[in-house]
Amino acid sequence: MADQEYKPSHSPDPTEPADPDAARPPATPGTGADRTSDAVETVYDASTGAAAEDRVAVASQFQLMWWRFRRHRLAMFGGIVILLFYSVVVFADFLAYASPQASEAERSLMPPQRVYLFDDGSFSPHVFGLDSRRNPQTFQREYFANPDDKIELSFFAEGFEYNLFGFIPTNRHLIGTKDREIGESVFLLGTDVQGRDMWSRLMYATRISLTIGLVAVIVSIALGVVMGGLSGFYGGWVDMVVQRMMELLYSIPTIPLWMGLAAAVPDHWSILRIYFAITVIIALIGWTELARVVRGRLLALREEDFVMAANLAGASQFRVIFVHLVPLVLSHIIAAVSLALPAMIVAETSLSFLGLGLRPPAVSWGVLLQGAQNIQAVALTPWLLLPAIPVIVVILAFSFLGDGLRDAADPYGM
């Protein structure tokens, strides 16, 4: 423990309010917790709001955080968007109506179809079939809607076989076509060069891109918490070494390094192996931010009096770390994770986009966006840029969520 009396004088305590009289926000949302009466000396019970007050008094930190978080509209919104996206991860097969690999040169680069919801005033969602012909000048295929070829859409239609949740075999999909070959004639978001359905591919890409981020984050949490924890709790030379490692990784441009490592992943590996290799590469470099957060919090908390109180009570190191410190750092870790996830997703997307990450036949957002590399071509087929939208939306949602979590993580509003 550092001696309190010899702290360097130029680091004033940041938690000290500048003006003792200035209105401080209450420690807890909404109700003033300090009102609780002093039992023995005086009975000071306000007649109103006593129930709400008791609720606050016995609320745990996580409840307080949740109350505070709930007031952060953007963060709530971000959270809901994230949940929606992760439900796509779970139900990708159900939401897709065509196999992501089913290609057909005849249907190359179809534009998205317009969906008509009503036919003669009655609800009957349908699209029109497309006729194609090759433009003799440009040799591009051009498509025309055929109003006579009405393709009706139905919900919970039968389609290709898959296992729901990985173990329930089924062939139901959210939408499908009546009395037509499944996945033959509906292309809600158009097709790519090889005539593969963009909508279905996007569903599968979402699954891959979002899980790769999640797995990478889990790996980095493990690394970050262990390294940051060691560094922050033990201080001294352990801290020194970990700090230098973090600085090192911080001062190197990561993308070239990622690219170098990713390029070393052999072509002949299975999709799964590549998936994990890329995850690990991303995580190896991404753990520093988490470690920094954990370390900073631990260093601050280690100096708190309640840690000393626990030590003096005879609590073991183990208890001090896991009962006192870790729960207090946890909320910060959660916040940091929600801010780290988008970085991981961008990393995967970038690498895959460059052709150094996941490679076809794997489908991820980055892989899909490879189709948009040639911008002159994209100008003619703009729907190939569509996968950019989920990337941006997810990252924004994570940023909002993370920001809200970070604010809520400290109920005392640091």
């Binding site: 009396e5 917790a33 609780t36 002093d38 039992a39 016995v58 309640f306 003096l312 009570a313 208890r319």
Partner: protein, 364 residues
Amino acid sequence: MSANQQITTPPGDTRVIGDTILEVNSLKKFFPIKKGFLRREVGQVRAVDDVTFRVRSGETLSLVGESGCGKTTTSRCILRAMKPSSGEMLFHQKDGRVIDLAKANRSQLRPVRREMQMIFQDPFSSLNPRMTLLDIIGEPLLVNGIGNRREREDRAAELLKLVGLRPEFLSRFPHAFSGGQRQRVGIARALALNPRLIVADEPVSALDVSVQAQILNLLMRLQNEFGLTYLFVAHDLSVVKHISDRVAVMYVGQLVEFAETDALFHHPKHPYTSSLMAAIPAPDPRKRGIRARLKGEVANPAAPPSGCYFHPRCPHAKDICKQESPIFEEVEPGHFVRCHRARELKLTGVPELDNSGAVSASDS
């Protein structure tokens, strides 16, 4: 230091001041100063520099001094929150065994910790915001394997009542309480293991003035009730005067004076103590008047002056004070001073009240 010096407890006080509970002998704590790009040690901050005193069971002994004088470091060393550089700290355990805290290792300290607890200054940082009062107060019991869950709950409730809080509060979290109430919780936690010695580090200085008295009364009541020994670290001399039996004054890591409270406040023998007394603003507008103010600033503990550390600020300094360090000696029974001129100087302290309650004439 004579161990048998009798302390007279004030009227109405039921305490029995007993034998030595803690002997601190030549305690030193130096912090290295590192400089340059190799971080070489170029010097030392002598935070605690040869401190010797005894604490008797049942008494309140206060450590006072200006910030940076080493009082907090001393208390942290005694609690073994930090390891002293050298010296002895002999703790007399309940069963009569004596352990040197300075040399004890973690496992040897464990049983002693139950007899020695601490009350903190900051009522906010001293309670884990994630734990209920039950968890906080019950922790010392839990980690020492005392009682089952039910018994711990009963004990915690009892402790809450003892410090003036409602037992229903056990399920609440610290954020629901004001500073004064939190300080009570901290006191309850310190009492959980039935300690004999409590180190209180500025226990009221973070509290509102109107709440200070509540906590001081509580501390004194608990002391009477349980025969607690307090080592009280504070800078507010009015509070120290109010609560202590004996007072040790520190200056730049050293004890400069040590005596019973009344002797020290009314008849200080060290010029520094006298200056401290003179500096206390009295809450009485009719006793105003410029007193001899202490000039200059506290010496730097990394480079203390020669001779007596206080001589550059001392109005009574002579040549000898610049050259020789005075020794800490007993000039009157129970009154220890580190000053070359302790026996000859007539210093003023806080005026004594005569029977009628008026201030005696010795004060201006």
